[in-house]
Symmetry: C2
Subunit: 335 residues, 2 copies
């Protein structure tokens, strides 16, 4: 079992981002010293109502504190981006962290983002697929000529190659069934989202397995899952302390349309207790171990990536969670 930290670079309007970013540097050092395997960050643009730093420069700076942990972008919104730009930036990150980079890719779901990048929503799957195809060719071929629907290259030569050959692992985000199938066919792993309920994920893991089999592709060496996790010495304290921050975060998700990206059987428009159930990991250390084992066993997950901070949650609680994870939860899951 491997463990990762999702560094939550979304913060409320008005707070000092210099102080928050210094806290993130401390979080990364603490995770490194606690034996975590990887650090990841997500991507959004125009992230109102939050302040949010951009992914790749932030990860590049965190690399200086990461020791031998891997670094990952989970995920880049590929339909918005240019394949030459992303291919070069990913290769650069892979050099900076000396062959320990992971590139996650996803479709996004927010109209503001599509408008800002001049992308029509119905094109987004075709853009992702073409962008990824061009990136893979730039990483692996000496010279690329490409005549596509969205991108044109004539004898393009990108001499800076990623350190990892043929390229860093490509993790696919997937909320709906079509994305799960695409991830099975085109990615090196499905990075399971923190939003979906266990019952939905059990059905989708079966779909993922079947799609892999039909495509003649092996089960991935690593099946990573992002989880919202909050641990405190006792369960009532855990629920009381995290609730306002998680509730606000999921209200923002609902207003962004994140739950519209989930299968029709699920929604975020629920009372907090119901939202938590089979979705978030909240409790005392033993609760967390028991719950995480359920997900690992039901889904085959062997890499948990924890999000332990939401906009407004203070650093002391984040550091306590990291400590309880390292002392009480991670050792129990390794046994």
């Amino acid at each position: 079992m491997k463990f990762g930290l999702l560094v939550s670079k979304q913060h409320p309007a008005g707070v000092s981002m210099v102080e928050r970013f210094r806290e993130h540097l401390d979080q990364v050092r603490a995770a490194r010293d606690a034996g975590f395997d990887l650090i990841v960050m997500g991507q959004h643009f125009l992230s109102t109502p939050f302040q949010e730093m951009q992914t790749l420069p932030s990860l590049a700076r965190l690399a200086a504190e990461a020791g031998t942990m891997r670094l990952g972008a989970t995920v880049l919104l590929l339909p918005l981006l240019n394949p030459v730009d992303v291919a070069e930036q990913v290769a650069t990150l892979d050099v900076i962290c000396e062959g320990r980079f992971i590139v996650g890719v996803g479709l996004g779901y927010r109209d503001e983002e599509y408008e800002a990048f001049g992308v029509r929503r119905p094109e987004r799957v075709a853009r992702l697929v073409e962008c990824l195809e061009v990136m893979k060719r730039l990483w692996t071929e000496e010279e690329v000529t490409h005549r596509g629907r969205f991108f044109q290259l004539t004898r393009a030569r990108m001499l800076l190659k990623p350190l990892q050959r043929p390229h860093p692992p490509i993790w696919f985000a997937a909320n709906n069934d079509g994305a799960v199938e695409r991830g099975a066919r085109l990615g090196d792993a499905w990075v399971i989202n923190p939003h979906a309920k266990l019952s939905v994920l059990e059905r989708q893991v079966a779909l993922y397995r079947k799609t892999l089999q039909d495509a003649g592709r092996p089960w991935p060496a690593e099946l990573p899952m992002i989880k919202e996790l909050y641990v405190a010495p006792d369960r009532p304290t855990a629920i009381r302390e995290c609730r306002p921050f998680l509730e606000a975060k999921y209200q923002a998700y609902a207003s962004w349309g994140q739950d519209k990206a989930l299968p029709a059987e699920d929604s975020f428009d629920l009372a907090f207790e119901e939202l938590v159930q089979d979705r978030f990991i909240i409790g005392d250390p033993d609760d967390c171990v028991r719950e995480l084992r359920r997900y690992a066993e039901a889904l085959g997950v062997n890499c948990f990536i924890f999000r332990i901070q939401w906009p407004g949650m203070e650093q002391a609680r984040v550091l306590r969670t990291l400590q309880l994870l390292a002392e009480r939860i991670m050792p129990a899951l390794q046994r």
Copy 2:
């Protein structure tokens, strides 16, 4: 007088970029300890015949070693890029380096780059101008609606603002006269290129001054100039040691069309001795001080940014140049 180091992230095909990047980290620490004021990096895509790392993640990682030096991108190729993406990345860098970021902008000149980003060359000025306008609005306004030729935004809110208000200094690269005039009207400073001859630059500085006056804008607090510089204990050694690397670099520039961007009176298609004359700073420490004084006095430059490495030049010579700059050249120019 202020001093900067342009970190040369272009390297020959086949060399280990991990080792080269570790050397860049050492160069930045050496520059910091030697009292340099800033570190900058340029931008190109598909930089054949070289391997080249991307600018913003590289600068973000260097920030960890930079102490209180400023960091700058000189320059980002704005016609290729999306204003929301660049505005967020620049704000992120300004947070990472705690209010010490400089954003340089330029048009670029290579057909490969325009094709890769789907930009038609005749649009490049209009794209740069519109992109910069949107970036400035995102940095300074709460909510931006923009109906432009290339970009559309509807009530876009970018809550992450740069630390420097209203925004980091905007430095304009300019080779031809039109770009010098645009830099005077739209930028906070013209960052003078290393390619042009002194006679061309004297004429263009007069144009820059006149354009500022006509626009009712003040002379900039800082007039930076990038210079190719190679110093050795004696002049023949300096010329012998740097010549193969500088010659190869300027042959690559000529093949990229960089000299076509210069005014018609100039070219790179010259014998090395003639190419050096009134353009590069090569010699013993006293030669370098004398030459740099000429440029400072003729042009009003008060910030020299030195490029001291070209593809293939080994680290020991770069570190010797840094030492001679710090011990022999910079103190003399401060007097």
